[in-house]
Amino acid sequence: MEQPLAARNHQCALTRRMSHLTLNRLSKRYGETVAVADVSLSVARGESVALLGPSGCGKTTTLRMIAGLIQPSAGAIEVLGVDVTQVPAHRRNMGYVFQSYALFPHMSVAANVGFGLDERGVGRSERDRRVAAALSQVRLEGLSARKPRELSGGQQQRVALARALVIEPDVLLLDESLSNLDARLRDAMRLEIRDLQRSLGITTLFVTHDQTEALTLCDRIAVMHAGRVEQIADPVTIYERPASRFVAEFVGRSVVLPVERSEAGLVLGGRPVRTAHPVPESRALELFLRPQRIALAGPETEAGAHNRLGGVVRSHVFVGDRLEVLVDTQAGRVTVETSGAGAVAQPGDAVSLIWSPSDTLVFARAAP
């Protein structure tokens, strides 16, 4: 795996050259409020990146700056190496799918989709051909004469998508576009959008506060918190190796336990505990575990190189696709997720919780 330095440098240069969309220390302030602070991001051609974060963390603001709908307070936006920060929205060639879809209510579906082509001076027959192609891409062939109000939510979403795609944008920007749909339709649309995005090889930025959406839809995820990007990485890394306490808590479920630092190492519930990852300098620490990475075993099980914590089963919660077992331990209450198959420890049973040091993350404790 070890690469010569020259080769690595070369690859770095290549990645930089291939960067399709680059955000360089982008910031947006509204008076005292800092909506977006120092966001830097580089998206490769054909890549799809999710901006994931809680409500109000600046996702929409970032997307609107990229589209040119608002002017950044500081920083720069580059597309294919060209600075577009000062370019007005109508000359940026970005496909933007709004959360509310923002279809033109006075125009038919075909006119909605053809809007961008009209503005580009595309001739009539060519426009009609491309509109028809775009509508068949999103499987809406029969509905071109309808008005937006005569469509279901999912159909409206497809029209908005077709309208953004038909102009062959440099970047496709999607703002929480699935949040208005019911769960089943959302899953279906997710797959459809991903397939379309992959087959067209279109560079995409996807805003969402839904982690499942981010994890399933995108090549990389940028987790945002209070206007800043906390971590940018592929979904597996985000989930398995969150870079901060915030990311660990926001993405996926976690078990959080207080842990102490001693001469010999970390101490959890009176027993030493090992981690394969760096431990922050701070004095007050917390241990993060994924509930499904904890194994339930008999009370006297040898843990070997793994971590072990004894406890007593308190109760079970059946959640449909999994069984959550609540265990009271020296360190506090722990939720363990199991498939529910096979023998399950009953309430009152003494058990051991066993997990690997590589699944053990330690972060500084949040200020109270």
Partner: protein, 289 residues
């Protein structure tokens, strides 16, 4: 059970009736009854002395329709109202759009200011226009003082002055009507148009304007009707040289003391406005479909 079910809607209807009864009574007393009286009056006769004699005659209507002046006045009224309303629309539209969009803290204050002229008597506003447009008004003083013109330019006591004054007096109503109708205007639609490559003026033509058509239709209708019935502004700014239906009705009634003629012309105006409004409604409905 079924008895109660039938009782409910009846009681509901009675409650509704009771609630609107005061308004109905008031309307009947101050609007319908005088209108009936007016209608009756139009069929009376004017004696040789000029006094009104009760009768059931169509003589007044006959002379009204035989007089070529009626057609001319009608045309004057309709055309002037149309131009004044159009002018008010053109002036009020950008203002209303700004008021609709502004994020300013002073938004409600600005809205109040925009419609504040409504709080000032029409007479006062007319004198304002006279001070501005009169032969010795501000504009003529400036024109002559700078040597651009030697003689005062006629800006009032003609159709131009009346149209201008009327348009100004209609603006607050137009602004309110437009603001009420701008609800359908979605900022996201305009932004979507921009991201699809439309420069600002194309966004306005293809999205903003079509989405505000209902507001324009409403404002136009309201102000046209107001313009047709406006009296003070045409009277004072027209200075006796502008002949409209409203001023003619007044002249018949007060100057000539010919009440049947005034009543007949008033009825004629009412029917005319109703017909125009109906035609307008039919036209816009057809355009929408």
């Amino acid at each position: 059970m079924s008895g109660r079910q039938r009782e409910q809607p009846l009681r509901g209807r009675l409650t509704g009736l009771a609630l609107i009864a005061p308004a109905l009574v008031l309307l009947g007393a101050i609007y319908l009854w005088p209108m009936l009286g007016l209608g009756r009056m139009a069929f009376n006769e004017t004696g040789s002395t000029g006094a009104m004699a009760p009768a059931l005659s169509l003589a007044t209507f006959r002379s009204l329709f035989e007089d070529p002046f009626t057609l001319e006045t009608t045309w004057n009224s309709v055309w002037l109202s149309f131009v004044a309303t159009l002018l008010a629309l053109v002036l009020a539209y950008p203002l209303a759009l700004f008021l609709h969009r502004t994020q300013s803290r002073f938004r409600s204050l600005l809205t109040v200011l925009a419609v504040a002229p409504m709080l000032v008597s029409g007479v006062v506003r007319v004198f304002g226009w006279l001070a501005l447009l009169g032969d010795r008004g501000l504009i003529n003083a400036a024109l002559m003082g700078s040597g651009l013109t030697a003689q005062p330019t006629r800006l009032v006591y003609n159709y131009f002055g009346v149209t201008l004054g009327l348009a100004e007096s209609l603006m607050p109503y137009m602004i309110l009507a437009l603001l009420a109708g701008f609800g359908r205007l979605d900022r996201a639609c305009e932004e979507a148009a921009a991201t699809l490559g439309a420069p600002p003026w194309r966004v306005f033509l293809r999205v903003t304007l079509p989405l505000t058509v209902p507001a324009i239709v409403l404002g136009f209708l309201l102000c046209f009707v107001l313009a047709m019935s406006a009296y003070i502004t045409p009277k004072l700014l027209g200075g006796g040289r502008v002949f409209l239906l409203a001023t003619e009705i007044f002249d018949h009634a007060i100057t000539n003391a010919n009440w049947p003629a005034a009543a007949a012309l008033a009825l004629y105006t009412l029917v005319l406005v109703l017909l125009l409004v109906a035609a307008y409604a039919a036209l816009t409905r057809r355009a929408e479909a």
